[in-house]
Symmetry: C2
Subunit: 209 residues, 2 copies
């Protein structure tokens, strides 16, 4: 185990009341290009993406960005748009989160100010995305009400929410979907002490529905 | 939206106190072979897997199995082992869940009895798996204690738990990992009204750590 690590899935910390009061959001994600050329697709996307606004760490399974929400969300958006290739089926799985009682003050970049760096570079690239999300507001009895509110947000954003077992399907332009994910995070950080927003974005799926 | 759907991410149900008292567990998952031959890898694995013990539904993003936990977990294990190809990097992402207040009595297979059908067919196939998990016990204030207990279970099972931001890394033989996931589900269904266990299993990653 990593004694220097800190997260809500750790057992050796005095959990309750710990955590951080700093404005640290994070996103852990994995990019899955269903293509034998997956390594170069991922490396090429990483190279094009400006991660100067976030703290970043990768391992064999996933990458985590941590910092202020605006920069975290912008970096994930940039990476996904940069990885897109016409005709290549690809999925991005991950979760945005904030407020874990086991979180710590480190491993983040909170000094960044000013406009986000990636949106100006990728904002003109558009493609349709199929997605599913699942929101987990932790430690509160009325979590279902929070989930319902976020469902209605998707309806208002015209992302065509459809209920499926254990998740909600949404669909729209890539930027509409990322705008929505960030808006859900903003709403949750205002309303609950700790949330996780799990998401899967898929492009170019060969499956007809 | 699907008026006939039922799940915890749905906004038009009277949530509190609803749900089902039936013994319905579920797993929603996606298989990601990072190979241009991904369609045949997935279809071939589906064909080899005995899903007679579960209710199943697939869409463009994922597949869901629902029924008694033993058969749900066995079907997911069977599919993953059947999809394994030496040298092909592949990930399985999904979540086991039970107890959603918005769940319903339908869309499941609860009549199955007797031994699980897939383990006898795949139990002799062994390969190492790198994994990450994140457990979300919903609606209770002491959820962190539940997460800590599951961390210690991984230690006792010699799966080398390592804390990372927002998740726990584990590793072991594919069957040790699936045994552990099922044991966590058993523990959670005994201890909390509603849980979600998110997991990512990865094989043949080219990333050296």
């Amino acid at each position: 185990m990593q004694p220097e690590g800190c997260c809500c899935q750790r057992e050796d910390l005095p959990w309750a009341g710990r955590g951080t009061k700093l404005d640290i959001s994070g996103c852990r994600f994995s990019l899955y290009p269903m293509d034998s050329d997956f390594v170069s697709i991922i490396l090429n996307a990483l190279e094009k993406t400006d991660t100067s606004g976030v703290w970043s760490q990768s391992d064999a399974l996933s990458t985590v960005y941590r910092g202020k929400l605006a920069y975290v969300a912008d970096a994930v958006r940039g990476l996904f748009v940069n990885a897109f290739r016409p005709g290549v089926h690809m999925a991005l799985e991950g979760q945005f989160s904030k407020g874990c009682p086991g979180d710590c003050d480190g491993d983040s970049l909170l000094t960044r100010e000013g406009p986000v760096p990636n949106l100006p570079l990728v904002g003109e690239k558009h493609f349709p995305v199929q997605a599913k999300i699942a929101l987990y507001p932790m430690g509160i009895p009325d979590y279902i009400d929070k989930i319902a509110g976020v469902w209605r947000m998707a309806e208002k954003a015209r992302l065509n929410p459809v209920s499926i077992h254990y998740a909600t399907r949404i669909s729209g332009d890539v930027h509409e979907v990322f705008d929505y994910l960030e808006a859900v995070c903003r709403k949750m950080e205002a309303e609950v002490p700790h949330y996780i927003l799990c998401f899967t974005l898929s492009v170019n799926s060969p499956t007809q529905e």
